[in-house]
Symmetry: C2
Subunit: 154 residues, 2 copies
Amino acid sequence: MLGSPDECARQILEAIPLVMRAIRHEMRSHRGSDLSVPKFRVLIFLNRHEGASLSEIAEHLGLALPSMSKMIDGLVTRNMVVRQMDPGDRRRVTLAPTPLGRAAMQSALEATAARLAERLAALPASGRCTIIEAMQILASIFGCGRDTKTAIGK
Amino acid sequence: MLGSPDECARQILEAIPLVMRAIRHEMRSHRGSDLSVPKFRVLIFLNRHEGASLSEIAEHLGLALPSMSKMIDGLVTRNMVVRQMDPGDRRRVTLAPTPLGRAAMQSALEATAARLAERLAALPASGRCTIIEAMQILASIFGCGRDTKTAIGK
DNA sequence: TATTGTTATACTCTATAACTATA
DNA sequence: TATAGTTATAGAGTATAACAATA
């Protein structure tokens, strides 16, 4: 059945790992601002949501709190993020990118996007529009409404 | 400039890691044959290239030899792959999936696809068609004509 | 000497459990 | 008691360097 959820799932399993591998490869080969994909995504989020709390970032990226805390440690050590106590609720931590963090993100973003764009340029514009639309749909169902945690259960 | 290669690249960078994380989660939460994505890919490759050497697998999956060696250790320990000396060239190791390995691969494929399909069922059919179309385009430009393409999609 | 793998070592990413500090 | 984060610990995945065995 065309367009069935199962068919769609199989197509995703076929294609996504390939694209992910290409992304990691591009980012690793871009020496100069050696950001991992997850750190990169943290910086992107903080760039648009300055002052976000640890929980908010963890929620957005779908990571457990301790994992995120440790990742932030690494970014703070490298002077890419600043941690600050929220005066209104002293349990909360507010996070923001430093100028260095923003620069590293921009640099990684541009280098990686440029490499990907090179490949995408071979497509007709309609193909790229289809991809953009699909990415937005996927982000909406795999990014938000994280019931993954409860689904894992444990 | 909607639909530009650059815009498209940025959307990909935003969405693909989210989907990849969901795939990993679902594979791990499928207790019984909890295969990581890389191990899953090794089994898929061996399923179609029985008797391949370590170097050949490492080459196809884009991993360093020691990484692959260690990963094969894990699969051998779990009785999913057999290592054998090549009598013709005793430096070489030939690898093949066991029946258990093949079964685990099938099972992981089906379970993961089913979980993804559950989420995708919430979309309108038109959204799923858009995703399918996008996945096919992405596989064609990021696939390099390699293994996962035909293997996973079966 | 060149090739094929393995061992040793280290770092990143991620998770769960136990804890601290604040509300 | 409930919430926000951190520390402790563990395990997978990956890399490089050094090594062993075979050609």
